[in-house]
């Protein structure tokens, strides 16, 4: 019996445990297995194997029961996730349905989740920009949150490292606030996008419209072919999962790579209830897992643990990991765990038309989506009555317009016949928000989920800074559109709840001072050195760039450090 137990414990003991299999978890697994560590990857949802588990990927519109429209009962049963643009008949199976995993909204928060191997990396919007020192020095310069414990030079080589493997398309634009990377060829701007780009460059100081940088294999290198991926085929059906591996996802890239090492054990259907802390050893020894199929509780052990459960769920796990040493959650000596959660402000758009380039259009589809306007507000100095700034998407497009009046043979003909409409232009705002103590997540003290884990209570809202920034976006973009000769300019704002941007960050922020932060400059818990957090939870501030590339780079960097520390016997 004793031997059996010893064997069982041995079977449940690994060098490393990675909690989560998405954007950052996939990288943790790839890096740790690549350095020879026997690694266990825990995923709370089901397995999704590349290609095999993309049931809709090759379906034509008419092959969907409702040709792409989600049935009303699904829409009505899922008011939250139904607000996500990608929740359609072709991809709904990759999103958590509202009733499956409830949470408590102290204030409205649209928590969009993907509980499966690959997580949200399957359905993400694939925009990838580096951060710069204008971002890492932001909190210190503008006196909010805490100072980032790293600077651009610390992460620069790791951006390069992950970009080469993931495959990022883009131009070397030479813009200090949006550093260049290791790029595959960019998807070009179309005529109107390029016209706007030239116009802005000529008429404005430090404002640019560039090709959006995105995680698509515009021209794969050997390292991508080695992953089994091929060139992006411009389908723009990415949310279904890509049979070509044309965009980066954990499913097409990092997870299968880690599996091929022979060092990875992938365990789906495994909810991590908590991380086990040993008060005598002064370190974490493993994790407590509930198998969602058998409801059995199982413990797994390892020397190091990477927490990559997605920003808010990482907070949940840490908060729920209570011990005599850490009664308020693992590593939470400072009391800031769960606090200073922030997001991106996506609540403004602007549209217009351009009367030009009538003889020109586009052919095929642009997976990058068009152009990107890096932040131009408050970059070099504070110049407005709000802090920080916003990046903007920008795209121009035209499509055939049909006369659908009447009925009969003429209408039928008109479904084919039509005239190419004018060029339309559109932009959307992506604003930085300021992390605040009053924006937080915590554990509900009564409600629990099916596995006995307390429900997460979310209390996050916009503030006055966000409102001012939104107003400025509308003013500035309206002015830039007008100056470029765009007509019929229509700004619009919405009141979408935080969360729908799907860029929730923070709660276990990095910082130099253990009294005001959870993680050190290596994404290591100040107070529990063998636990690392490298997903969105670690973010001290949000910048206005899309965050995924930074999660990837921080993860690879932290994994390298963690293995080094293990080898030195420090953890």
């Amino acid at each position: 019996m004793a031997n059996l137990n010893i064997d069982s414990i041995k079977e449940r003991t690994f060098d490393a445990i990675v909690i989560g299999s998405g954007m950052s978890g996939g990288w943790a697994a790839k890096e740790l297995t690549g350095k020879g560590l026997k690694t266990l990857m825990l995923e709370r949802g089901r397995d999704v194997k590349h290609v095999k588990d993309y049931p809709t990927t090759n379906l034509y519109p008419w092959e969907f029961p409702h040709h792409g429209v989600l049935p009303m009962d699904v829409q009505e049963a899922n008011p939250i996730v139904n607000r996500c643009y990608a929740f359609g008949e072709d991809a709904a199976h990759f999103f958590v349905k509202d009733k499956e995993h409830p949470y408590v909204q102290e204030k409205p928060f649209d928590w969009i989740r993907g509980y499966q191997v690959g997580g949200k990396s399957l359905m993400w919007a694939r925009q990838t920009q580096r951060w710069s020192d204008f971002d890492f020095e932001g909190p210190a310069r503008d006196d909010f949150a805490v100072d980032w414990p790293i600077r651009y030079k610390d992460i620069d080589p790791w951006y390069s490292y992950v970009e080469k493997f993931a495959g990022i398309s883009g131009n070397r634009d030479g813009i200090p606030e949006l550093p260049d990377g290791e790029f595959l060829p960019a998807y070009p701007l179309n005529d109107v996008e390029a016209y706007f780009s030239n116009h802005i460059k000529t008429n404005y100081k430090n404002r640019y419209v560039i090709s959006a940088r995105c995680a698509h294999l515009s021209k794969p290198n050997q390292i991508h072919i080695d992953q089994g991926r091929t060139q992006c085929q411009s389908r723009t059906l990415c949310q279904r999962g890509c049979p070509f591996g044309g965009y980066f996802s954990a499913n097409s890239s990092t997870v299968p790579w880690a599996l091929r090492s022979g060092k990875l054990t992938l365990r789906p259907h495994s909810v991590v209830e908590s991380i086990i802390y040993d008060d005598k050893l002064n370190k974490a020894t493993g994790v407590r897992v509930v198998d969602t199929q058998t409801k059995e509780t199982i413990e797994y052990y390892a020397k190091i643990i990477f927490v990559n459960a997605a920003a808010l769920n990482t907070n949940l796990i840490l908060l729920n990991s209570k011990s005599d040493r850490f009664p308020n959650g693992l590593g939470n000596d400072s009391g800031v765990l769960g606090k200073y959660v922030a997001f991106h402000n996506y609540s403004a758009h602007i549209g217009g038309e351009y009367d030009g380039f009538k003889d020109w259009t586009t052919d095929g589809r642009n997976p990058a989506g068009g152009g990107y306007i890096p932040r131009f507000r408050n970059v070099y100095k504070q110049e407005t009555d709000f802090l920080r700034g916003y990046a903007s998407g920008f795209s121009a497009y035209r499509f055939k317009q049909h006369n659908y009046d009447g009925v009969g043979a003429s209408l039928k003909e008109n479904t084919v016949k039509g005239n190419l409409g004018p060029w339309y232009v559109g932009s959307h705002m992506m604003g930085e928000t300021i992390p605040k103590e009053s924006n937080f997540v915590t554990l509900d003290n009564k409600l629990k989920d099916d596995w006995g884990v307390p429900l997460l209570k979310i209390s996050v809202d916009y503030d006055d800074n966000d409102e001012k920034m939104k107003k400025d976006y509308i003013e500035q973009l309206t002015e830039m559109f007008t100056s470029a000769g765009f007509t019929n300019i229509k700004p619009s704002t919405n009141h979408q709840a935080p969360g729908l941007d799907i860029h929730e960050m923070g709660g276990a922020r990095m910082g130099n001072d253990p009294k005001s932060s959870i993680l050190n400059k290596w994404n290591q818990l100040h107070a529990c050195k063998n636990v690392f957090v490298t997903d969105g939870a670690c973010m001290t501030s949000t910048s206005c760039q899309n965050p995924s590339l930074t999660y990837m780079a921080l993860t690879a960097r932290a994994a390298d450090y963690a293995v080094g520390e293990m080898q030195k016997g420090n953890i």
Partner: protein, 198 residues
């Protein structure tokens, strides 16, 4: 049978419907299993005739050849709120009454010219009333809320779903235009004159 299997089977019905004679059934229930709508086979026939008037058989297949009315029924059954469904079904009855009153016969007994006249008149009145927009074709998704006026709501829903079903049908997307699942290219600078029918 679980829901997923039902949907799958319905999909088979719709996509293989081209092979079935459209007057397969003449009993009291429609040829397609409906979950929410209470529609009898006469009403189904009426909807089929309206669909055929909107997209008629010419030298290419029409609504009935493509069994678009089954798709329309499926969309009405699955993709509208209960409230909208009640308005639409009320409009269906009203439609019948309006036609009977004006022509003293049912829509299905009218000649094609009169059928078209009935529909065009409703469309013009709806536009005058200002409630409904031009229905969506393949470039946009069907609108989600329907007109408060039941007759208009019914008409637009049928027209919209007929057009949507037609322009996203296998026939249309392979024979009338070429839908590309795998374009394999993006040309950012392309002469309009070189555009093919897509």
């Amino acid at each position: 049978m679980n829901r997923r299997a039902v949907i799958k089977n319905l999909a088979l019905v719709v996509s293989s419907a081209v092979l079935l004679p459209s007057c397969l059934k003449n009993s009291g229930t429609p040829a397609i299993a409906l979950k929410h709508l209470n529609i009898n086979s006469d009403q189904e026939k009426l909807i089929g005739d309206i669909c055929e008037t909107i997209i008629p058989k010419t030298n290419t297949p029409g609504a009935k050849d493509l069994n678009l009315h089954l798709f329309v029924l499926k969309m009405l059954d699955d993709c509208y709120t209960k409230k909208d469904q009640l308005t639409i079904v009320k409009g269906l009855t009203e439609f019948d009454n309006v036609v009977q009153k004006k022509y003293n016969q049912s829509f299905s007994d009218l000649n094609i010219k009169d059928r078209e006249a009935v529909l065009v008149e409703i469309e013009q009145n709806a536009k005058k009333a200002g409630g409904a927009k031009t229905p969506a074709g393949r470039n946009t998704k069907p609108q989600k809320t329907v007109d408060a006026n039941p007759l208009f709501a019914f008409y637009w829903a049928i027209k919209q779903q007929t057009l949507f079903g037609y322009t996203t049908s296998q026939y249309f997307m392979t024979k009338e235009i070429v839908y590309e699942l795998v374009p394999g290219r993006y040309n950012a600078h392309f002469p309009v004159k070189n555009l093919k029918q897509t």
